[in-house]
Subunit: 278 residues, 4 copies
């Protein structure tokens, strides 16, 4: 009995510990102060990792702080690895399945599992395969999405996603028409400009690059028409660009307003008599 | 009787075959699996044609794969030609008229008929007239519109078109005002900048090119003001550009929202008498 | 009696003639075919005038067609002058006043009267004062506004004007804030960049030019930051530019939608029971 | 009694004087003509100060008008200093507190108090500490906010602020996603372009600068991709830029329309019981 009690006690302790771990690694579980501290610690660590990757690309800094950066990298990977293992450990709660192993697999192949793995993999792989995958480390930034997802911005994010989804059909069609315009414009531009400036418009791909830069009104100035007809086409494309911005914005605006209208409609009852108001 | 039955049977078979052909060439007729396969085949063929035209403009690739590209072109034209003939064959169903011949003509001079013809014509014409119309081959891409029209994007496309049509009057007026602004700005700019940079602003047409590039906020950087007053005008034009984007977007947004409102209204009933309100 | 009748008859004829003249010169009076012909004639004449002014700025064309252009100019001015005199003649109907003379003055100093005068004045003035005011000829284009005003676009134009007027206060405030941002940004940019590139940022006015080009996202590329802090400020200004576009568009969109809502509200009665619907 | 009456009279006079001072320095107290004159005087003085600071950065003008500019600066600072002292004097009315001293402190450390101080401080500090803080003088322009706040634009400004505040959550999330896109794009771009143009893309920070210039569609042209894959990414970023403009505008538009809808709702009554609905 005592042994059984101890066992039950020990079991209970393990469950408690697992729950605590769960609360810790899964941000947003409004719990003790330690959770908030942990969340902020991870956020700062991610940000510092991003800064470190940026700094490594500046030769002067990399040469001076090579060792510091390397140590920081090792420490980061260890922390992220421990967190990854802890997440596997609590996967039977976060990803309930028939067996422990299946839960673990379910987590590992979930989007968040893959993001977490990709954040640490680039460190281990070169050790084994002797290939440089360091640039995949930028995926560590994707871990922010996890923090983003489970917080007060959740509602806003889902609203934006809903609007985009609902207007997917209209946006796809305008996207297709945009592509059509780009293609036709780059074809015409190539045949119009190729003789006047063969260096700027060597082939249709170069003309397509020009078309994108013009329609989006970026206009770097590395490639632009010099013939009269080329300028006319360029002007038309630029004006169409404004039109497309207007169209896209109109669709998205309507989506947001429609959504607000729907939300209002669903709960519209008079507070005095209780009857619904259309 | 048997002969008559046979004839009727044969006639029936022909009608069935025609219907099958119709279903095949007219995408969107939700039918057997073969229709979907055919649709995807044609879509891929169109895309490959576009890719081929792009690749032909890159000398290195053209020189190496000249024969392959030519054979692909011949095969494509044969397929498109057969499809064109099949469409003429089923034109008495798609374009019903008093006689077979009239139906065929009706199809040939319909927008889709012309698009289909223009997609294959550039191949046959040079053979006959010895002129190079190859660049018209880009019209093959226009055939996508056929696929686009008869599918699930149909509703979205018609919504966008309806909104643009309904707001045609407002968009025309802002378009006219835009043109007016462009014209006045280029006149002023020409007289302001012609002495400071005669090469950049040789005449009003060049100034108009600058005005378009500024108002649409493309700003290639090939032509810009250097005098003080020129910069002031340029700044005003650029700010007006933002205003025009706002105006166009506002009009289009209002159009979309109005449309949604109308659609909702259609199901609206009066709260007093309960009858529906158009 | 006969004399009196004749007189009345003559008087009647004069009134009829005046009315006809009125209908002729004031576009939009939906009348006989001759009015439409006259309207189109004047529109074409204005357009040809614009084309002529553009062509005159191209030396090659001007040298070759000097005489033709000069004759066309004289003919145009004669037609516009006759029309101007006719408008003065009918001013007692269009601008009713206590006396004929006051009506004429009322027309001459009305906006349209001034536009009409400015369209012909540049021709007469150099003859008298020996000064070159040819470039004022672009004001002939402003005469299009007259045609624009009295036609089917009238409703759309007044809708757009109403929306802009109603949102004047919001647009003024955002305009002021924009100016504030531009000013502060150019001050900071000047102190940040003046040492790194004294040629590009010689004084605050040059920095202001950069600020406008950046905020409106034109970005010609003639002036841009090269210091780190300068690039940070530039990025912030460019992002604020997007925000300002969003703000302006939001205000204008809301204006259009509000307007539509109001128009609906005014006439909202149930067609079945006649009662008003809120 | 007489003394008491005198004292009370003197006290009354002081209160009256204080109230007059209050009305004078606090714009918007619709009072006598002198208040309007004073307001316009201060506005003109601020504008002249801004002009003076701009002119001082142009060497030719500074050398010629050094003394005039210096005298103007001294006069301006004296006026602003007197006004600042007057505001402290009336602070017991504008910032009521338990004691006179606390009221003064309350004003001094209020936003407007700090702005007022910063507008005059740059003049006094160099005299004491021998450091050049002249560029802080641009803060004088911030004093415009005071004028802006207490006038007829107040309502519009608060409407815009309310909309932005209400949509803060959505705008923050899109802002975060924008930053994420910028970061990922600059990482990829750096690894793609660093070999082709090591001068343009020396490190990720330079790539980030490119990303901002492209996403905001400014496109100065000082840095742009030259490799094929770089151009593809650039095109995607530019198109995403348009999408983000659409998203932001949609959110802001919806905010404005929602706000209008709410304002309308406030006057709404239930059609069933006739009572008002909040």
């Amino acid at each position: 009995m005592f042994v059984g009690g101890d066992f039950r006690n020990a079991n209970y302790k393990i469950i408690m510990l697992k729950n605590k771990t769960l609360k810790l690694v899964e941000k947003g579980s409004h719990g003790s102060k330690i959770n908030s501290v942990y969340d902020i610690f991870i956020m700062v660590l991610i940000l510092l990792n991003i800064v470190a990757i940026i700094l490594e690309t500046i030769p002067e800094i990399y040469d001076s702080y090579k060792n510091t950066l390397h140590i920081f990298e090792i420490v980061s990977v260890i922390i992220f690895s421990i967190e990854y293992l802890l997440r596997i450990y609590v996967s039977d709660i976060t990803h309930p399945s028939s067996s422990r192993f299946k839960s673990a697999l379910k987590f590992i192949f979930s989007i968040y599992g893959i993001i977490d793995l990709l954040a640490i993999l680039p460190f281990y792989l070169p050790v084994v395969f002797k290939i440089d995958l360091r640039f995949i480390r930028i995926l560590r930034f994707a871990r922010f999405i996890r923090i983003l997802k489970i917080n007060r911005y959740n509602k806003s994010l889902s609203l934006i996603c809903t609007v985009i989804k609902e207007k997917k059909s209209e946006l796809t069609i305008t996207g297709f028409v945009t592509f059509l315009i780009l293609l036709i414009a780059s074809f015409i531009m190539y045949f119009v400009e190729k003789d006047a400036q063969p260096d700027a418009f060597p082939n249709i791909l170069a003309a397509f690059w020009w078309a994108v830069a013009t329609l989006t009104t970026v206009g770097y100035g590395d490639i632009y028409p010099i013939t009269g007809i080329g300028k006319v086409i360029s002007g038309i494309i630029a004006i169409l660009g404004i039109g497309l911005v207007a169209l896209h914005t109109g669709i998205v605006s309507a989506g947001f307003i429609e959504k607000i209208g729907k939300d209002k409609k669903e709960k519209k009852t008079c507070p005095h008599c209780g009857e619904e108001i259309d």
